[in-house]
Amino acid sequence: MYKIIEKNTIAENEYSMKVIAPRIAKKRRAGQFIILIPSQGDERIPLTIVDSSPDEGWIEIIFQVIGATTFKLSLKNVGDEIYSLVGPLGRPTHIENWGTVVSVGGGVGIAPLLPITAAMKKAGNRIITILGARTKELLILEDRMAKYSDRVIIMTDDGSYGEKGLVTDAIKKLINEGEKLDMVLAVGPAIMMKFVSLLTKEYNIPTLVSLNTIMVDGTGMCGSCRVTVGKETKFVCVDGPEFDGHLVDWDNMLKRQTVYREQEKIAYEKVLSQYGKKN
């Protein structure tokens, strides 16, 4: 059992939690994730490790309530325990000094972007951060990203904050300004990562994406997280979660993300009704 020692609401339906997991706190590197089960009998879900303190023995996770399991997790409070939590899983990010790195994050994908950006900054890179959200209230982690960024650009779909437009518009603008971009990190909704990758491919900018596919065990056993990368099948949990964005078969991945859409809806509605809420 893993005790929750801190919980914050960081946006509507988005939470951060600090959980006691000393071994993971000590061992984890940027880019790695955990799989947790809120209470016995619940589903296993993967979540990125956003931050950790090896000395205090906690890890930080951030999640958005999108279904039954994240809803159940959101009901837990400081002092409560998480039934199962395993990690750190996946390969750590390959960190090197590229020169100028653009960190592009969308929605709750900014959470996994944070530790990778921090590590890239520490390796001596100049960081330009582009954060995207539907609207101002849904933008998360701006201050913490700014800590590791030489420049921060905010994009919102409705123009309620920063500039109106998509993260790809901001990348284009940087290129047009004559910025030399040595590498792009993109983490967010699959559709965002797809269009960032298509754009950077035109300009031949190496692009790393972190995929958040459906998983069960997270150790390479089941293959639920399969993606097609450069015509080969890869398991996100053990071969990833990061891949060359130019090689990912995005259409295949987008379709695979929808495999349980109907059941997810049924399960979410069931859980909500158990707690007397409506979606």
Binding site: E43, L85, M221, G223
Partner: protein
Amino acid sequence: MSKENIQKIIDEINIERKEEWRADLRRSMKAKARGEIDRVHMIEREPDVRNKIFEEVNLGYTEEMAILEAKRCLDCPSPTCVMGCPVAVKIPSFIKLVEEGKFLDAAKKIKETNSLPAVCGRVCPQEEQCEGNCIYIKMGKPPIAIGHLERFVADYERKMNAAEIVKPKEKKGKKVAIIGSGPAGLAAAGDLAKMGYDVTIFEALHEPGGVLIYGIPEFRLPKEIVRHEIENLKKMGVEIITDFVVGRTATIDELREEGYEAFFIGAGAGLPWMLNIPGENLNGVYSANEYLTRVNLMKAYKFPEYETPIARGKRVAVIGAGNTAMDAVRTSKRLGAEHSMILYRRTRKEMPARIEEIKHAEEEGIEFIYLTQPIEFVGDENGWLKGIKCIKMELGEPDDSGRRRPIPIEGTEHIIEADVAIVALGTKPNPLIPDTTEGLKIKRRGEIEVDDSLQTSIPGVFAGGDVMRGGATVILAMGDGRDAAIAIDKYLSEKK
């Protein structure tokens, strides 16, 4: 188990056979009369009832049935059945105790060499092992139902809650780490705990049991049985740490620094072999590992009571013909498929599954399509599987495995309609531990290399089961676990 370790047990059996009560019992009924008794069939649920539910198919023997079956055993002077058992269960000794009605003593007798009889009685390929070596086969009669008797005895002991918890006479004060809580790890842990070592099992998943929990379905091996056995191990003092991926949460080298002096890697063969044909990543295409893990470990068959989902196809095709393929196809039927099919590139004769599983699958209405090889998964516009393009095969000359090699027949491509496909072609070891353990040698297909005593290329690190064999059986894994326990004891006793 190694020949040397088996021979020691056979010597013990020969002494036991000479005990007076055994001689009296043998004399009490003529061999001819014993041979005239028909093999006692186990009670099974009706196929049309059981193929809709997840409760166990086999219902076991009654006491009377067990005693009658035990009477059939001739108590041979050189019991060939034992030679066929990978852990050398003292078969005639326990069967004669059953004949006497001493069921608890019989359970104890089995447990001298097999710590999980309730499991083995259910999942061992007896027809290739003990029963396949029974003297009756040479006489043209059905062999003694050794598996059924083992199962009866173990279930009896469990129901009476009479399992004896063996505590070591003295503690050795040495820590041994077992990686993986499947059959290999459980067997090793049990033996090492009995010897007095401080044993810790590290398990990656949230529940211990390995393939017994995530792989083998409830209708063949009720999880309650596995949990009971694991509870008994805990009572013996074995510590089990779940949510711990050795290689990630901590490496072997780091655990060594924490005071573990010897290691047994029984991490299994976790990675599924896929077909590597077009369309394999369509929605609706599963590895058997994923399909069974969702159902067994995560209880997707009780969706939405349990929230882990699974695709319930109308037409489900399982590719492969081993026990896992049978488990997957019978599971799909229970999840409501109208057609559940096995696609196999050879014929019924070459199928590697246990005879009982094939028989049960056939009775439950599974369709078997032989000499058929998938070459492509075909999807619809939403990325969902709608059919499998296959080619017909014919059998040619025998290959390395001794089975006739299937050869494609040109121009026989055809589509088999299916909305769920499950690839059950076996598994290979997970590279995580070799990748994170410096100096650990592996073979071409990723199996960990070991010497005769199951020691790996690193002193004090032993390996067995599927991680070393690359996809075998529960009982072979248990045999390895037992051999490794003996080797670890020797290693630690000699280590200064």
